[in-house]
């Protein structure tokens, strides 16, 4: 099982699901109409490290974080 957490303005409780790569995560989130506006502009971190590929493998216990557009300062 992996955990997905939604940061900042995404008002959504964490999800727990089975996934072996980010591709599986994308499949699940695309079914969620609330998430449509976020998938195209969110960065993704696995265990708090930003990743650049959908092929990033996942193992049980991993944490996937979605980071929407930022504006610090």
């Amino acid at each position: 099982m992996i955990t997905i957490e939604f940061l900042g303005p995404i008002q959504k409780a964490p999800l727990t699901l089975e996934a072996s790569s980010l591709r599986d995560v994308a499949e699940v989130l695309k079914q969620d109409s609330e998430m449509t506006q976020w998938l195209e502009n969110c960065a993704v971190a696995v265990n708090d490290t930003l990743v650049a590929s959908l092929d990033t493998p996942l193992k049980s216990g991993d944490k996937v974080s979605l980071l929407p557009p930022v504006c610090g300062g």
């Binding site: 940061l7 900042g8 303005p9 980010l22 591709r23 995560v25 994308a26 499949e27 989130l29 695309k30 998938l39 195209e40 502009n41 969110c42 960065a43 993704v44 971190a45 708090d48 490290t49 930003l50 990743v51 650049a52 590929s53 959908l54 974080s65 979605l66 980071l67 929407p68 557009p69 930022v70 504006c71 610090g72 300062g73």
Partner: protein
């Protein structure tokens, strides 16, 4: 050193303490950048969410880059509500030389704006509204939305 505070920053305390902390390390240039919440569009203030684990990693990577140039970085940022005319952000560089200090503070502040995992909200009439139009997707964002 990265410092997070609830609410507006105590700017005099922070910028003078940092100056004192580095006084004996023979830096020739110190440049703090202080960001203050402007009164505009009728907002009461801004509010911030900060995701600390990734912010720390981003900051540590920048600190390593600065050290390679003989420089040192410090940063302070607010969480939660910051009213207009209060400050929410200080980034600072110490460097032996002027040029490195000027170049580093500019690059550090600009990268902060597009990379640091911090989310901004307008405070308006008791509501906290995500500042979507002023926000920037982090480099590499969007992979979950790719056609497969």
């Amino acid at each position: 050193m990265l410092e997070l505070y609830e609410g507006g920053l105590n700017v005099p305390e922070i910028i003078t303490r940092w100056y004192a902390e580095e006084a004996q390390f023979n830096y020739g240039a110190y440049i703090p950048f202080i960001g203050t919440v402007r009164e505009e569009d009728g907002i009461d203030g801004l509010s911030f969410d900060v995701y600390e684990p990734i912010l720390n990693g981003w900051f540590d990577a920048w600190q390593s880059k600065a050290e390679a140039l003989g420089a040192k970085l410090k940063m302070a940022h607010s969480r939660g509500d910051v009213l207009v005319h209060q400050s929410s952000y200080i980034a600072a560089v110490f460097s032996p030389k002027r040029r490195v200090a000027l170049e580093t503070i500019e690059k550090f502040v600009e990268d902060f704006k597009v990379s640091a995992p911090i989310w901004k909200y307008d405070l308006r009439g008791g509501q906290r509204l995500y500042a979507a139009d002023r926000s920037t997707p982090i480099l590499g964002a969007g992979i979950l939305g790719e056609k497969q």
